[in-house]
């Protein structure tokens, strides 16, 4: 029965995607839109070509790696800082009283709004990209670590005390592991925000990277390039999300409610 449903799903999916491409091709071959918009064939041609012919300074994989590098650096640093601050705020009333007001003041400012200030301050070099990715990730991770630490089941802490655990040990062996699923959820959102931030930063001031690529396409009225860029960016986004899900499944398998 399930097999039959899966086959049905597959057929519809194939049908849907096929009709999308056909529709696209029809519009760009037979209607006036063909003057402005490239058809699927041209896009795919450029996509394949970009693996060998450089756009700007790099082939497409080069741009990919540059963008990824920027994201990973900013994201990692921000995550570590965010976890520390979030758990501190969640477990210590003092830390909460000191840091929360400043955090709440700066939090609603979207990472993209920081671009101008950061570029003025740090220039158009790599560091401003790292910082922007970091800002994108930091708020989410901190917030999630904060709520995670606040919501640790007090019964578990009482239990640990009953078993003879020292307060310091309780922090590392009970509070921290309890927060992991929540922190991970925050990290997933943070990663996609970081990815968006790096694209924005690259569109505004860079010489390479995925964001630069589509901006270049826009500047040279090369819609094909823009579309190729969008496809690549979408694929990378999916990949990042998938990687995070796999890691989550390994780290947090204990959290999935079975009953």
């Amino acid at each position: 029965m399930k097999k039959k449903m899966d086959v049905e799903k597959m057929t519809y999916a194939v049908l849907a995607i096929a009709s999308f491409f056909v529709f696209w091709w029809l519009i760009t071959t037979f209607t006036p839109a063909k003057e402005t918009t490239p058809g699927p064939i041209e896009v795919i041609q450029l996509l394949i070509d970009s693996f060998v012919t450089p756009i700007g300074n790099y082939v497409i994989t080069g741009h990919l790696l540059v963008s990824l590098r920027r994201v990973l650096v900013g994201f990692s640093v921000a995550t570590i800082l965010g976890i520390i601050l979030g758990i501190a705020m969640g477990t210590s009333k003092w830390a909460e009283a000191i840091f929360k007001p400043i955090f709440e003041l700066l939090r609603p400012i979207p990472p993209i709004a920081w671009i101008s200030l950061v570029i003025l301050f740090f220039g158009i070099g790599e560091s401003s990209k790292y910082i922007l990715c970091g800002i994108g990730a930091f708020t989410n991770v901190t917030l999630n670590a904060y709520t995670g630490a606040q919501n640790v089941d007090p019964e578990l802490i009482g239990c640990a005390r009953m078993l003879g655990t020292s307060e310091r040990s309780i922090f590392f062996r009970v509070i921290l592991p309890s927060c992991t699923p929540q922190i991970f959820a925050g990290m997933q959102v943070a990663l996609s925000t970081s990815w968006m931030a790096v694209l924005a930063a690259e569109m505004v001031g860079a010489q390479e990277g995925c964001g630069w690529m589509i901006q270049r396409g826009s500047d040279t009225l090369n819609i094909t390039l823009v579309m190729v860029g969008m496809i690549v960016i979408g694929c990378v986004g999916m990949l990042l999300a998938a990687v995070m899900r796999v890691i989550e499944r390994r780290l947090c398998s204990w959290n999935i409610m079975d009953n």
Binding site: A113, M203, G211, A241
Partner: protein
């Protein structure tokens, strides 16, 4: 008031004072680093005093970036809300339809999954090329960013309808269409509202990006143009305004949600 309550009150006051002191320290350090020590030139990092004066100035003057603060806010709100409303009007019914009608689900979901991974920002160059620089392109970009969460959450909301409730409706002789409107949609309301809330957040966030690259007024534009004008104080004013309005939206929607969505998330 008993001992316990007195102790709690004391703690609240104590930590409240700590928070206030912390904020004061923050502003003082900021002030010292800029107005006193001049760690960085004014046009890169303004002092808090400069930010405040710039804000007051902006209340009435249109120079140097073309509009008063209200003009910019108005332009931004116009763009954000039009894209947002459009995204909701299209997204919510689509999400509901996808979740309710199996064939629609099987056909549309793969297409949706193709579009979803592309970050909203990546749409900007394409939209500019198609619509030019103006309200159309910006609203289109905001539309995409508001559309996606609305669909996802409406979909999830309908999908979480308990079969048991549908069976009860069936025993009362409800038709499929009646069940949709009397059981499924009410159950989905909390999540639909969540979708609306998230969409507003993403719409407002994407607005900044859209205005930076495709506009000549609005808060995002203000942030962008003042970089080339080297007016960091105006940049900070714009940043804080964006944050403030975002907060107002979030708080507003949260209280609306509390008042109108009865029963919370429990099925």
């Amino acid at each position: 008031m008993n001992e316990y309550a007195k102790q709690r009150r004391k703690n609240k006051i104590k930590f409240g004072i700590v928070s206030v002191i912390s904020l004061c320290v923050f502003f003082t350090v900021w002030y010292i680093c800029t107005a006193v020590l001049h760690l960085k030139p004014d046009y890169i990092l303004p002092s808090p005093v400069q930010v405040v004066t710039a804000f007051i100035d902006k209340l009435t003057r249109t120079a140097p970036d073309g509009a008063t603060i209200f003009g910019h806010i108005g332009a931004s709100l116009q763009v954000a809300l039009s894209g947002y409303v459009l995204g909701a009007i299209v997204g919510i019914p689509l999400g509901i339809a996808m979740a309710w009608f199996r064939r629609v689900d099987m056909f549309v979901t793969p297409l949706f999954d193709l579009i979803r991974p592309v970050p909203t920002i990546a749409w900007i160059p394409l939209m500019i090329l198609w619509f030019g620089i103006g309200l159309g392109a910006k609203a289109a970009i905001i539309f995409v960013s508001a559309f996606v969460p609305c669909v996802i959450n409406s979909y999830a909301g309908i999908k979480q309808t308990k079969p048991v409730h549908l069976w009860v409706a069936q025993t009362f002789g409800a038709s499929r269409r009646e069940m949709l409107f009397t059981v499924a949609i009410p159950t989905a309301l909390p999540l639909i509202f969540t979708g609306l809330r998230i969409s507003l957040g993403t719409a407002w966030m994407t607005l900044c990006a859209a205005e930076m690259l495709a506009s000549n007024k609005g808060l995002g534009y203000m942030i962008q143009v003042n970089r080339s004008l080297a007016r960091a104080d105006l940049i900070v004013v714009a940043m804080l305004t964006v944050g403030l309005i975002g907060t107002i939206f979030t708080v507003g929607l949260n209280s609306l949600e509390k008042r109108f969505v009865k029963g919370g998330r429990r099925g």
